[in-house]
Symmetry: C2
Amino acid sequence: MSPATDPPKRRTFRGLPLEQRQRERHERFMEAGLALYGVRGYHGVTVRELCTEARLTERYFYESFKDREALFGEVYQRQVEQLRGRVLEVIRRHQPDPRAMARAGLETFFQGLREDPRCARILFVDVLSISPAMTEQSRQVTSGLSGFLLQFTQALYPQLKGSGLDPQIIATGLVGACINVAMHWVYDGFEQPVESVRDNCYALFEAMILSWSVKTSTAG
Amino acid sequence: MSPATDPPKRRTFRGLPLEQRQRERHERFMEAGLALYGVRGYHGVTVRELCTEARLTERYFYESFKDREALFGEVYQRQVEQLRGRVLEVIRRHQPDPRAMARAGLETFFQGLREDPRCARILFVDVLSISPAMTEQSRQVTSGLSGFLLQFTQALYPQLKGSGLDPQIIATGLVGACINVAMHWVYDGFEQPVESVRDNCYALFEAMILSWSVKTSTAG
DNA sequence: ATAAATTGACAATCAGTGTTGTCAATTTAC
DNA sequence: GTAAATTGACAACACTGATTGTCAATTTAT
């Protein structure tokens, strides 16, 4: 049917095969996305700016991503996985002391944001105002976080069940507390030392657990 | 210098003086802003749509507002003041019982969001991704909220000072907890009864206060 | 009744932006 | 060396949206 234009034959260029060149371009756009989205937000950044930042052209942008939102989605997902991975790793390393695990996890979380404040904007601000699809993606991530927290505390304190409270709501609240503290910390330019932020958030966790065990021990 | 076109003489129309007509138009745009921004978000709404919703034309939009952002700012500020006013009022009405005050305040907060879910999106989501100016406005509001919470708890529990924790961070965390719980509640379609949401958030407050007084009493 | 003010509908302008296409220059395979 | 693949710069196109301007119809004051 079509007049049969032979597809161009792939070949190496500057010593690199096609796949690697494509991966490198993809990677440069990812970095440009982090740099621009993370500072000016999703809606304030154009495709052209992303291309300039990546030192590539529009053609390659659409080679790697369906549209602007797709790039944001990938940047978002990568940030989530990087930070989550670091936190899980450090938690594992502090087993089995639950307090050390919680404190180290919190500290790693906050350290990650301080090392790269752009992460905070991408993870907690812009993702919510792009599209219903991105909002859903974000909600799944934070729900997963609450779920993990839930599992963690219930494994450590099995007596927490049956206190009349809703563990899911409590977990959602604690996650929200950390996020809000983190955001203010970031926007205030990291005034407080990371140890203070960590300890105060940990205090929220501990308070909740304490109160829980008190309630359940007096109730049971 | 200018060819001296006389300014049009103001007069009544449909029995209403100019000021009142302008105020009514302004009001219709405010309602349109709440309706559209509150559902589709700031970036998804155009001036034309706002005009259609308000059953007015672009000319009147720019009569009332400098631009799209100005309308959002006013809608935001009004929502803040309405909700805050209701919460403060009900807290006052439950004086002097601190638990009743806290629980009633929380319940009013959540009820307000349930009665008008558009409020949640405007207050907690979109305001953060519009401009640095709007972000700053939002931060001032939530800082004010944390400040109020701080004052409230410190007045009730003067022994809380000197526990080694940073009350400002704790307050920021508690506010973030309520916001996050509220957002998930809204987006989940108000599955849980408002009493449950209220009680669980209150439990966070109470846990914090309890833990605080325990720490200070054992330390002092 | 008439002229002026007011309104509403909509055209016109102007600036961006996403997206696709062109083309010359560069690099590679043969 | 030559043809094909690849790249990079940028033009072209289509579309959207903010903002200003036009004008006829309506209402009011005198």
